[in-house]
């Protein structure tokens, strides 16, 4: 089930835009509020749902069963290190969960905009921007030409 934004609750802070691994959370040009530009491409990782400081992002099913009354609502409490989920089924049942958010303090990871923009030389490498330093490793594991030849007849 992809995510969507309650525009009346969103304050346009951009946290979801930064965190979306699929780059589908963007800013609406008419109202300057976040929206999911391509629900079909949503990985359903719910990173934006958890990151939203206004609890403005919800989850909904696709059009065939969306109007039937289910919902997934999330309350993040970084000071407690917990995130609570309220799952409402379309038959009226409700389930509540609490799960730990993460092992590092909230806000301790740099946002993408805090990194320097890669230079033109970055296009010549196979690595993504700021790899491997941003992954806290010296070198990414990679196949060498010799290892590729092994086992080839």
């Amino acid at each position: 089930m992809p995510t969507f934004v309650y525009m009346a609750s969103c304050d346009g802070c951009g946290e979801c835009v930064d965190i979306c691994p699929s780059d589908i959370m963007h800013i609406d040009p008419t109202y300057r509020r976040a929206y999911n530009i391509e629900p079909n491409f949503c990985w359903e990782c719910y990173a934006c749902v958890k990151a939203c400081p206004q609890n403005a992002i919800d989850v909904r099913g696709y059009a065939d069963f969306a109007p039937l009354g289910h919902s997934v609502r999330v309350l993040r409490e970084p000071d407690k290190g917990l995130i609570s989920w309220k799952i409402k089924f379309r038959d009226g049942r409700e389930k509540n969960f609490e799960s730990p958010i993460r092992t590092t303090p909230w806000g301790s990871i740099k946002s993408p905009s805090a990194y320097e923009m890669p230079g033109p030389d970055a296009f010549k490498t196979q690595e993504l921007a700021h790899e491997p330093e941003a992954l806290n490793i010296e070198k990414l594991p990679a196949l060498t030409p010799i290892s590729l030849n092994q086992g080839v007849v």
């Binding site: 008419t30 300057r32 290190g81």
Partner: protein, 251 residues
């Protein structure tokens, strides 16, 4: 320059009645624009439906005193302190523009209707507050425009790529920027330059108040109502959010 009524000096080439009529037209334009905006977005209908659903789902009802307390909290936190912003820089910028706009608007109306000519001496506090308001809007507005707009900072769009959401901030900045330039030019005594800069001031001001149907201007009316309803929903047990966690994972 900062202590004299800039509108009283306009009588050199404009009768006082003209600016008073302009203010009335702008008030009418804002009222019509807000109504058209509500009709276009169906926001009033959506809000009425939400209130009806909220009433039906309420687990408890609020007394008049509780409702009044929530209204006071909404005014004190969401309106007066821009409490909904989680980014402190955006909050400060918004507060500068909010209070600057109030000073600017109230003193403009007071000077145009109360002291339209130099025949009635304008209290110094009015033009001083008008200038303070203009400067507060300029600081908060340009800070927001260049460094805080979410589509620029987080979505990577160029600063000068303007979209419909920029209509309000651009016309507001245009209005107050040319207000300050016009005031300065008028003090220097150059009539032709005064007419040009005053014309640009009137142009951007008309655009600001005449474009409510398409701009974010009406948010100053909607937002407090939505914030109040959210508080009422929470107090009546209607919030769709989960209850706060009972344990602490950090301790």
């Amino acid at each position: 320059m900062f202590t004299s009524n800039p509108f009283a000096d306009l009588t050199v080439f404009l009768p006082p009645f003209a600016m008073q009529a302009f203010i009335v037209l702008m008030i009418i334009a804002v009222a019509i624009g807000t109504v058209l905006d509500m009709l276009h977005k169906s926001s009033a209908k959506f809000f009425a439906l939400h209130v009806a659903k909220s009433n039906a789902a309420a687990t408890r009802y609020l007394s008049g005193a509780e409702t009044a307390t929530l209204a006071v909290k909404t005014v004190a936190i969401e309106v007066a302190a821009a409490g909904e912003f989680c980014n402190p820089q955006r909050r400060i910028s918004h507060l500068l523009m909010f209070y600057g706009f109030l000073f600017y608007l109230i003193t403009t109306v007071a000077m145009i209707f109360g002291y339209p000519t130099h025949a009635m001496p304008t209290p110094v506090v009015l033009p001083v507050l008008w200038n303070i308001g203009v400067i507060m809007i300029l600081i908060g507005g340009y800070w927001f425009f260049f460094l805080l707009r979410v589509n620029v900072v987080h979505d990577g769009q160029p600063v000068f790529r303007l979209v419909l959401a920029d209509l309000f901030i651009v016309t507001l900045l245009g209005s107050v920027t040319f207000a300050l330039i016009w005031e300065f030019v008028q003090t220097s005594g150059n009539l032709a330059a005064t007419k040009i800069t005053f014309g640009l001031y009137v142009f951007f001001t008309t655009l600001l108040f005449g474009s409510v149907r398409w701009s974010k201007f009406a948010h100053m009316f909607f937002k407090p109502v939505v914030a109040f309803q959210r508080r009422v929903d929470e107090a009546r047990g209607v919030s769709s959010l989960p209850a706060p966690a009972t344990r602490n994972n950090r301790s």
